[in-house]
């Protein structure tokens, strides 16, 4: 327990900040995932074959390729891509992109692929009567989407979004390979300098367990609150 003292003697405060880092990366990635879902759900549902193909490629690739490989792509390829763009504008120095952004973006893309499927499923499960009813009332497309479809979709999507959140939260552990100091990375550092890996990795597991348990409770509450039917 001495190892967990706050301050210079223990790793308590470091692990606390690392936990905050994990939570913020996970939330950022989850929101980035929402952003991609809002782009790719209409793309996947569109009748245009090319758009449909693009949407399907996105969800297949980001759900079928290991997370670690995607993180390596962004970690090694990210700064290269930014430097390439910078070169066009005449900037030739080495640019290193932020590990937080790389991590959040790569996990966010994966999270987005799962969210896309969740929202698509929810939209498809709404009866066509809702769409027809809204149309026959003469509502504009945007109005009926925001006031009729969206609230129902969100309600139906809550349980599965809870799963996507859990996946996203657990995937953030993989960002540690890029050197971002979140729970896993901090435990790795602490384990290395104290030669006590068993203690620190079990402690990290406990932190993750607490985070996943609380988020499960939160999503269950949300589900109960919006379950009118």
């Amino acid at each position: 327990m001495e190892l967990l003292i706050f301050g210079d003697k223990g790793w308590g405060d470091e692990l606390f900040y690392a936990t905050l880092m994990t939570i913020s990366v996970a939330i950022t990635a989850f929101l980035i995932g929402f952003f991609f879902a809002f782009i790719f759900v209409p793309v996947k549902l569109s009748k245009n074959k090319i758009l449909k193909f693009i949407g399907n490629t996105y969800t297949t690739v980001f759900r079928g390729v290991p997370e670690l490989l995607i993180i390596y792509l962004f970690f090694f390829g990210g700064s290269g891509a930014v430097m390439y763009v910078a070169k066009i504008f005449g900037y030739n120095e080495y640019i290193e992109i932020n590990a937080f952004l790389t991590g959040a973006l790569s996990i966010g893309l994966i999270s987005g692929a799962y969210s896309t499927e969740v929202f698509r499923g929810a939209i498809l499960s709404i009866g066509s009567g809702q769409f027809e009813g809204a149309k026959s009332l003469g509502l504009k497309k945007i109005t009926y989407f925001i006031y009729v479809i969206l609230p129902q979709v969100l309600r139906l999507a809550i349980p599965n979004l809870g799963n996507v959140w859990q996946i996203t939260l657990k995937d953030t552990a993989l960002i540690s390979v890029t050197g971002l100091v979140e729970i896993m990375r901090q435990s790795y550092i602490a384990a290395g300098s104290t030669r006590n890996p068993l203690f620190f990795y079990i402690f990290a597991a406990v932190i993750y367990l607490i985070l996943t348990t609380f988020s499960l409770k939160f999503f269950n509450k949300l589900e109960r609150k919006y379950n009118f039917s």
């Binding site: 290991p66 490989l69 390829g77 068993l198």
Partner: protein, 225 residues
């Protein structure tokens, strides 16, 4: 592209390792899953609680943590290094298999459990009215029907495990992701390598997907209309 062709022998070895890791973990995991799913149905609270917490812990923590506890953590204990277990636990390959199998076992147990719950009440009532014993009802009715119902969800778990084996690269194993990382860091061509290795993974995902579809069709004689 020339570089990738040059690297094919290395990637082939890496692919074989990925396949080995996936198959071994899935085979051990399916037995663990079945075992824990059956324990979960036990009336004894300690037994079913043990199964519940096994699933809860392994599903609630990242696979990376589990792998690190087994690979780095257990090596710290004196009595493990002196016992016969050390011959197994000092090899990263077996550590990875143990971690992956325990992880997929937890998810599989949950899949089978919900499969058992989905078995129609009428089937069980019918078995009861025929005077079948509890043991027979379970092994002749609930188990086969429940397992059949779990096939699609288990297919997803197989794909997740295939993706999960990429973590073996963090414990010095050169699997497909490990090889990809090595090539990227020596030749600095992330996009090319990503497309190449990514397609190999997608190919296996595709194979698993079709395998599951095939099995589903083969076993679907009950609900044929």
């Amino acid at each position: 592209m020339n570089l990738m062709i040059e690297k094919i022998p290395e990637l082939l070895n890496a692919t074989i390792l990925t396949i080995q890791l996936t198959l071994f973990s899935l085979i051990v995991g399916i037995f663990l899953g079945l075992f824990f799913a059956i324990l979960r149905l036990n009336k004894n609270k300690v037994v079913s609680g043990f199964s519940y917490y096994y699933s809860f812990i392994f599903r609630g923590t990242p696979l990376l943590v589990q792998l690190f506890i087994i690979y780095f953590g257990l090596a710290q204990l004196e009595f493990i290094r002196e016992s016969f277990l050390w011959t197994v636990l000092k090899k990263p390959f077996w550590c990875a298999i143990i971690a992956f199998a325990l992880n997929t076992g937890a998810y599989t147990a949950e899949i089978f459990r919900s499969g058992f719950e989905k078995v129609d009440k009428q089937l069980i009532d019918a078995a009861k009215s025929l005077g079948m014993s509890k043991y027979n009802t379970f092994y002749k009715i609930i188990l086969p029907v429940g397992l059949k119902r779990s096939i699609p969800a288990y297919g997803n778990e197989m794909i997740l495990m295939l993706k999960g084996t990429s973590l073996a690269s963090t414990v010095t194993l050169i699997d497909l992701t490990g090889a990809a990382k090595y090539i990227i860091s020596t030749h600095f061509n992330p996009v090319e390598v990503f497309i190449f290795t990514g397609s190999i993974y997608l190919f296996f995902t595709f194979l698993i997907h079709n395998f599951i579809k095939f099995i589903e069709k083969k076993t679907n004689y009950i609900y044929k209309t």
